[in-house]
Symmetry: D2
Subunit: 339 residues, 4 copies
């Protein structure tokens, strides 16, 4: 099955190429990039030995004419511009934000510019999304923070107040993109933690609320504070909400375990074991732990993912697998690096 | 002025020795350690060239007979055992937890073992503590997390609900001590984030609540989740609470700026600038930023300190300065490393 | 094909399990560990979701009775003890040092204890080793430093003086093993470089010399200084030797490129591009660059590998593939992580 | 004593400001920067609380009219342009490369552009430089690599062949400057080692040779390979040369210890203890260890410094102290951070 990748020179695009190289059913035949067009793929992504000798092309519609499946990994606002030039019959997974939000108003507030509409939201491990994805030809792949937070909070609606969910999440630097900015250089980041998009303004906020509302059936509201952590990959999200019923840690753990029992990529860890981002590196897996803080009557959830794996490229492939009627784990059957 | 350090082989003890070496009024004459007794100080702390040729002694009361000021940097439960063997007239700053809690019940719940009582709490930048410290001969130096969280939440009592304060704080690895444990080795920690003491069970919880209640006059309750971050030093605390009145970010910022106007070590950063742990490394300084999240009606506070500096050794020296009637900044007049 | 792993609780053992889980022809049926026997595999290696629910067994010969292929990942001196208890017909790859050295004297000098003899040396990318491995049932997998240095120096014998090769190589912390030692804790390692086994005493020295002598046919002598680097994985080796003939960088590059032309895992990078350890993370790949320093008439070679991948587990699988008559790349067809 | 800093927005400039703030005799009255002119100093260097409220000025000669001492921390080629506009009587320490090389030819080869001449070379811990500095009004502060390598190799001339010294040195990222380049962003650097300026082309090569030749009286030739390490500060240099006489490690150690016996900033560590960059962070100290590799008849030296401290700002202050007839340690009497 011939596939294409538009915007493959960023970190998500690179991870996509890496994972696609060993996918049993997908063959990457078109690879484009904007500012790096004409460069060797390995000069931008030196790890991609599988693509040695190949170059990024500039985007051109005919590159994708024979592709049945196309991944877009573009800055927000760019996917919508490209979409009309792609084959109408092609299945498309957009790793960008353009088609995630159902509210034009939320788009205007958090992103600005033309609102492109909404596609099926690709949070592939939970319903109703999983079923919808299987029937869709266009899927909006969730944001990295949104993936970890929506998964971690999804089971909580039965036991906690979803209208005041507090989240603090720390991300590795690849979440900020492959961009030469002074605040991203290693000397500034090394050995240091700092928050950003502070005060509830991160653009994933409406996306998380939309996802949670769909999953739970109740209106969700999120206070979200992101942090830049001195590591290249990984997101650790801490989610807390007031309990709406008296429940023990064991009961909360049982609820979460039951909720994700059928998911092969989401693991609720045994009590006492905490999620650790390095355990997920390079993979489509998610680790979750849950506790009840009796002292404050709060549910506390810890969620770890790889922002480039489950938080971007790996979930995009999971979505594509579902859209194509394949095993959702095709090409994703491997564990994280651990160390 | 002759001073002594009991328990100088840990990271807080090492930082204390480093800072004391250039203090204008203190002369370190007694240095003891337990498991490292007999070893060269530089073999444990290779940076302490100022102490080249000196050894850690085993604890012996006569070592401290001529000391007017003594710092204790011992594991919890150990300070109380030592105290009776020290000169009754000596001023003492305990960097451990033994004398921090006024509630024997809280001690029993979070630490266990004999309750030693409470000394003046050494949160040196805010009242009523600062005044009390100046009149005290025995001071309990605050915990590292407690320092950052109590300072960050102290001004909030006028505008936010202190009975449901949510805190997520990430610490560098020196906060876990100089201890050969498998979960602390570099291969396990590098490039990874993980939570610990999960579900509201961290022992600083009652300490923070006690401090905030004293500062604000209202009962405070804290949901606190700690995280181990892949860096040696630094704590970044994110604190959030429901607003009790309608207020803008600018007003909250003005309130915080006013609250800390007289503190020479706590800086409320200009709006738009975020605290960054590396900026505080090695220093007694604190950086704070504040925002109002209108979407959720929450106050959000970000606080950065060096867990070994302001969070331990530097604040201990600030306390000693106050207890000795010196300029509180004596020996602490330097900026953090930044990079 | 049923296979077993003896000593799977260390970092090399964990990486072996991770890679074996997606190998197309190998099925891991026996997994033992010494000090972690009885523990869940995921409690030691939290990334190994593929092994969820399985435990490390204590070593027992009958565990391995039906195994056709066995990997040993034991501390040096332990492999020889175990070997007699394994099926005589089983193919064995020893990731330890026990069977690497052909000189009993070198063994005594650098390791001590009983000398076990020598197996085929598993430097799988170069001759004469590759051919020998294909005919062997017992293979000694090379050390991580030895792999990078022997590969990097192998083509140099035609143009440089192999009797005075100078090597400085820096390794990530997993090279020091999964061991709770104070010098390996994150606080000690973070943001710091330090040398160890200083003065030409590293135990890989005779192994490298033996390998180079076999490859080149001339006696090789190595001055080797290892460094511990603040990262979990990766080795970067810098190798330099006096040129024995006048040659340009382009000619040296052509020589190296030609030497490795048939190797699918060793890449001599285009001139101007430098090896980077992160590009190899998790993979069996090697990156090499070469230059002539005209000023000093020296050849300089830079080599990057993943110490746990090509430097241990991945090369062990490559060896097993060759021993079993499989495609040498079976289960190893993926690129490194890059970031 | 009024002093000025030209080019204070880089990492060396920031470290200079940090150290100068607590210097007992120097008062910084003029601070200029080029691209950051008009910005708050704390917006570039958030750690410099001592300079809160002050801005970088654009360079203007009258700013420095009353300065008796001026530090230049400019990109190479810029110092020479500025020098004629400064007071003729002012003492000047140039942290840049412009006045380091005595050979116009070497300047042309390694830097290019106009050759400015040579000032007294500020390698402040060894003769003949120390004496010359004390009599100079213009001093060229050594490069960071050059400092560590020249100090580490200086005592070797009696026992080793200085015409073929091999050096591999790894530096933290601040050595590459405060510059938004893609290869310096944290995602590219984190957890990775890579070499650069490969093949003997690093511009510190002639500087090191010149310094060693002056110190030893014999012509020195250096093969130097630099490496970028995933840490913000620190340089670890490994230096090796063929022994010219039979000598033991103990004898080499005695020679080195004797050579640096009078230096208060260079410590030859006890045998068995290795230099560690973190031990020097923020300080003017140097740690050295030495060994004889009998197997290869080579001397091996390991040297650690902080590239921004001893390698730039701290040594610049030491030079200024000597030039001003002050205690060379004024304002530099503190230990490194250690962790």
């Amino acid at each position: 099955m011939k596939i294409g990748v538009v915007g493959a020179s960023g970190y998500a695009g690179g991870e996509l190429l890496r994972l696609l190289a060993s996918h049993p059913h997908f063959e990457v035949t078109a690879i484009t990039a904007h500012s790096n067009a004409g460069e060797q793929i390995t000069s931008v992504h030196p790890q991609l030995q599988s693509y040695a000798g190949k170059k990024f092309n500039a985007f051109a519609p005919n590159e994708f004419a024979s592709c049945e499946l196309i991944f877009l990994a573009l800055p927000h606002g760019e996917s919508a511009k490209v979409i009309s030039q792609l084959p109408a019959t092609a299945k498309i997974v957009d790793l960008g934000a353009d088609y995630r939000l159902e509210s034009a108003e939320a788009w205007a507030t958090y992103y600005g510019g033309d609102y492109a509409g909404a596609w099926t939201y690709g949070l592939a491990d939970v319903e109703p999304f999983k079923s919808l994805i299987s029937k869709s030809t266009k899927v909006a792949n969730p944001g990295c923070y949104a993936t970890s937070i929506a998964l971690g909070a999804a089971p909580a609606s039965e036991i906690a107040d979803m209208t005041d969910v507090v989240v603090v999440a720390a991300s590795g630097t690849t979440g900020a993109g492959r961009s030469a900015k002074i605040n991203l250089i290693a000397s500034e980041v090394a050995g240091s933690l700092t928050s950003y998009k502070f005060g509830g303004v991160h653009q994933h906020t409406p996306e998380i609320e939309q996802a949670l509302t769909k999953v739970s059936g109740v209106d969700a509201k999120i206070s979200f504070t992101p942090i830049l952590a001195p590591m290249p990959r990984g997101i650790l999200s801490t989610i807390t909400a007031k309990l709406t019923k008296k429940i023990s840690t064991e009961q909360a753990h049982a609820l979460y375990s039951s909720y994700f029992a059928k998911s092969q990529f989401v693991t609720v860890l045994p009590l006492g074991v905490m999620p650790k981002t390095a355990a997920l590196t390079g993979s489509n897996h998610v680790q979750i732990q849950v506790a009840v803080d009796d002292h404050t009557s709060r549910l506390v959830v810890s969620v770890a993912i790889d922002n480039l794996g489950k938080g971007a490229a790996a979930q995009a492939i999971q979505n594509a697998n579902l859209m194509c009627g394949l095993d959702e784990a095709a090409g994703l059957n491997f564990d994280g690096l651990g160390v």
